[in-house]
Structure formats: C-alpha cells, structure tokens
Symmetry: C2
Subunit: 387 residues, 2 copies
Amino acid sequence: MIYLDNAATTFPKPDSVYSAVTETLREYGGNPGRSGHKLSLAAGRIIEETRLLVAQLFHISKPEQVVFTLNTTDALNLALKGVLSAGDHVITSSMEHNSVSRPLEALKSIGVEYTKVPTSSEKGVRISDVEFAIKENTKLMVFTHISNVTGTENPISEIGGLCRKHGILFLVDAAQSAGIRPIDVQKMNIDLMAFPGHKGLLGPQGTGGLYIREGIEVMPLKQGGTGSHSELLSQPEQLPDRFESGTQNTPGLAGLAAGVKYIIDHDVEFVQEKETRLVNRFINGISELQGITIYGPPTGPKRSGVVSINFNGMDAVELSFILDNVFDIATRAGLHCSPDAHAMLGTLRSGGTLRFSIGSFNTDNDIDFCIDALTQLSKDGLMREVK
Amino acid sequence: MIYLDNAATTFPKPDSVYSAVTETLREYGGNPGRSGHKLSLAAGRIIEETRLLVAQLFHISKPEQVVFTLNTTDALNLALKGVLSAGDHVITSSMEHNSVSRPLEALKSIGVEYTKVPTSSEKGVRISDVEFAIKENTKLMVFTHISNVTGTENPISEIGGLCRKHGILFLVDAAQSAGIRPIDVQKMNIDLMAFPGHKGLLGPQGTGGLYIREGIEVMPLKQGGTGSHSELLSQPEQLPDRFESGTQNTPGLAGLAAGVKYIIDHDVEFVQEKETRLVNRFINGISELQGITIYGPPTGPKRSGVVSINFNGMDAVELSFILDNVFDIATRAGLHCSPDAHAMLGTLRSGGTLRFSIGSFNTDNDIDFCIDALTQLSKDGLMREVK
C-alpha cells in the first residue's frame, strides 16, 4: 500500500517506536509515579524522558510545562476551557479544525464570544485582519499552525508577536506542524500549544499533549489521583500533576519518546525539506491534468505535505475508494473535520475534497505511482477502471 | 520479581495483549473512523470489536453505550460533570479514591453538594445509612465497587436497587472490580460505570471507559472532531461519537480487547476464585506475625486481592522499599490516592499502609515467598536485613 493519509495519522512509524512500546509493555509494566518499586520507577522515568524530549524539540525551558493528554483535541479543550470564562473574547480563523471550532461554540453557552478572521487558502490569515479583530476583552487567540485541509501555513511568529504586544494569550493548534516544522515556543511567543503524538512526532495513537508557558493560570478539566499530595481534597498545584490525573499511557508515551528522538536525530528542517520536495513533485505532476482543481498555496516552502484536490466535480469519496481498491493508495476524502475550511474553499456542500498527505516515509516512487494513477484515471474519464 | 501491585496496574499481561498491540501498530496503523481506506477501516473495526467485548463482559445491551477514555479518572470526571449541575445532591462513601472525591469537591464551586456515608472497612457501606442520606435533591450516588486500600466490597446490587426505587442515578467506580468480579449492569441497576483497561481487564495503560445506560443525558466534557457529522458546529448527539472526540488509542484498545477476551475465556468467576484462594492463603500465613495489623474484611469471598497491613508502627514506605530491594517483591505503600479510606482506618497521619495486591498471574509460590519474607522480617525485628 502507498500510504498518503499521514495528516490523519502517520504510518508507518520508525521501528524504534514499535520496539519502545513492546519493550515497555513487557519489561516496564509498573504504574508510573504511583508505587516505589523498580517497575513503577522505571515506568515513571519513561514518561519523564518523553517529557524532556518534547521540551527539547519545541525549545520549552522546563519539561514540566508539557502535560500529556489522550490526543490533540483533549489538549485543545483543556487549554480553551482552562483559560476562558464569561465575558472573554477569542480570535480564531475560518480554517480551524472542529477540535477548535466546537469547543469555542460550546463556550458560547457560558458567555465566551469569538471572532473568526477570514482566511485565504493560499496565504492563511492576514496579520492586519487579526489585529483589526482585537477588542478590549480579547483574552486569547487560537490558530492552527498548518491547515489540515489545504496545507496552508499561518504566520504563527507574527501572530505571536501581536499577542505579546497586546497582552493576549496565544494558543497554537500544532496538529499538522509538530515534528514537521521547526517550532520554538519562546521565539514564536507561543503561550499554549496543543500537539498530537501520533502524527508528525511519529508516536502511537493515544498520545498528545499541551505546552503551558510558565505562570499561565489554567484550570484543570479533570481532578483525580496523581500519586502526589494524596492527602489533599483539591487537585495539586504543581505541573504536570495538576493536569495528569489517573494512570497515563506509559507504553504509548514510550513510543512517543522514540518518535520524537527520531525527529530530533533526523532534524526537523530535513523532514520539512524532504516533504517540500515530495509535495512539489506531486503538485507539478498533477497540475496539468484535465479537470483538476488543486486547493491551497502554490508549490514552495510555505506549503506542507497536505494536498487537497477535486476532479471534474467527481465525488471525492468515490475517487478515494477507487484509489484504495484499484491502486492500493490510501487517501482521505470528505470534510476532514474542518467544515469552515471547506466553506472557504467552496467545497462544503459538494462533499469536501480528496486529500493526499505526505509523510516522512514516502518516497519519490510513491509520488510517481500516485501521479500515474491520477493521470490514468484522468485519461480514462476517471471511472472506467472500476466499471 | 514477585509483582504484588496489581491494584495499581496488572503485570504481566497475557501474551495475546502484547501481540495485539504490536500487530495493530505494525499492521493496522490507520486512523480509526476517519478515512475510508483499508488501514483506517481495519483500525475502526479493532475499536468496535473492543467495544463489543466490553459490552459482552458487563452485560451491556448495546455496545455504543460504552465510550472509551484515557483512564478511569477521565471516565469518572465525564460521568460526574456530565450529569451534575447546581442544586444537585450526591451520596458517596468515605472510602472513595481521589478520582471520585476530588471531582466532587471541585463541583462544590458550581453548587453541587454531597454526603459521605460512613463506611466500615470490614463490610463497606450499610444500605440503611445510604438510604438515610437520601434527600429531595439527590441526583446521583457514586460508590466504589471494591476499595483499593482494603479490598472491601460494597453492596453494589443493593445500592442499585435503592437508586432505582428512588429514581436516583447510580455511578459505580469499577477500578478494582472490572474483570475481577462478575458485573451485570442490568441486574445490578448500574446507570453509569467507570472502568480501567489496564487493571483487572489486563489491557495496556492509557485505556479505560464509561458505560452510559441508554437514555441518560450526559453532557460531553470535550468537543472536537469525531469523523461523523463534520459539518455541524455542535458535537454529534449519537454515542459513542458524542464522547470520543479526537483520535483514540487504537493500539491500546486492541490490547484491551485481547485482555477482555482472556477474562471472558477464563471466566471471571474463575479469576475471582483463584484470587480469593490466594488472598486467603496470604492472610492466613501472615495473621499471626508479631505486631502486624491487617486491615479490611476477614478472609472469604467478599474480600478482593487487595490487602493492606501495618507492622509495629513501622513506616510503610520503608517496608515496601525493603521488600523491593531485599526480596524483589513489588508492593505499594502510602495513601494510594484514597485519603478518606485512611482516615477511616486511622492511618492517614501515620503515612498510610503497605498494600499487597494479588493478580491473575500470581501463584501459590509467590504468596508463600512473600509470607516467608514478612515472617523473616518480623523475626529479625523487621530491619536487620538492610542494616
């Protein structure tokens, strides 16, 4: 199979990720941070090593500012609900994932209001539009770093500067950029950043986290046992315990450590370069096909490995099905949980787009095979192959 | 190592659990419920199979009434915060884990009140005390099935009957009973039940879930992408999607399926019998040791594999350390995240207890070795070995 659905979850993972999970399950099966025996301490060390590696990758000064969650959605909900309260205003974009749009909509019921800044699928949000949206009660800005529909990159550093200037909190959804773009939370003035473990960081599903800049007051969404200060009826104050109630996903986090280590060892700039090269090769190879529409920015370094297309008004789901069943190419069709982005593209009512998303382990051959498949389908009037 | 910390997390797991995780990571790495290609569909099927097995084990009529969470704490927070609102009264016990006590305390700030029914470490709560605590505004009762400190079993069926009679919701914390005691949510009149994946169900850490009886209104704690009804700004209504935003822990849930299958194949009654036999052997072997205090119920079927002790007023943490380092026996010392239970036992200020917790894979030899170690320590005045 040629796997081009890396924006949903990366596959395959480095072999070291598989081994780390298996080794942890078989050899270090204690409950981390609970008991004092060897197996429990070893499990605890695995999680702290993962925290250290994530902190290193994102230039986070203190590892405890990284808290682990089930997934990015979990982290985004914690960030949004943990800092916002009645009367607060939020600025966001019209190309966010439902993991941002839906919590914001739910927060309306407690008196939070938000503004969606218009977005261009070629260039992302304009910084002047973002600044124009600032109000007296703007507490937070939340933007996706890279769109999961079009691969469009937002000007995160500039938005970060703007937030710092106006004393507004800045939350970044790094679902499509963590491990794929260099991220320095300090230089980029990021206050909160939600990231997945199982996408660009190459870890297993069931992992993710939230970076919380030191000194930011976030209320926990959950309370429970942390293995620390057990005598208190209230949740402990210190991080990461404050936000990590209950038993964590130790084997998953061991795999995440291996994934992050792979990214650090291979250098995220190198990952980005390779992906840019492959996506350019892909777009150049398909741009002349008859009836094709390619959404998002032109080829170049500001475009991620995510490419959405449509073909002659053909149903994207059907096309994805053909690619899977006739050519063994895995893609994703539909709205990709981001209806706003499709409203912007004009593809909301027509059923979305067909999305190809390139990952670390794709090759020139994968891309060429995919170009050939689309070329053949285009020549055949798309459908002849399966009829 | 002799592992007697199964109440924190079971270890080892059946070999089928390790293989299921590894196979899923290596072979079925798609994102479940997102895309339509083979790998994604296979991942989705794994999760639905897990749901089916959990439903089968607990006699849940519709699998979609099981929603998966990061851990039991996550499930308890969802249940408590999802059904309670200002003006509601809750009845709970004085032997709950912090995963129940702390969310209840946090809910006070929005106007929820609760009553803690007194508990006997020998017999659990008395049904007459529970009934006496009912008020006009009692919305929910929440009780642990089995104490994680003393192994005491609460009369869950009787409390369930009482709740049904009075129209009160019944939430069970099955952290120490799922996979260890037969549970029939219908017969026991359980409306909501939080369970861990990584304890009695023998799955990996990072898994757990909540059973929600059909028709019970639970507000989601999180909103986000579910792969379904992506066009809606509000969270979809149908279960399990309503509560499973973001990418789930597919490899972990594959492991959980294997664990639950192991329990179903081996029969939970058999697991219980074996554990009862081992715990009786253990208690009989240590009960005459000089200076020992054994907490909880006497030997018998109403006692789980959890045994808390103290020795001559000796520090439990130190004793656990000696057992680990001199005898290679893994135990847990301290409060076990359940300060209320220790207040009841009178061990809160003295640093808690030393806890032995027996699991499916312990043997007579493990127990005898542990009895011999404690006997030797007792004869030596406990400390001579390490000085």
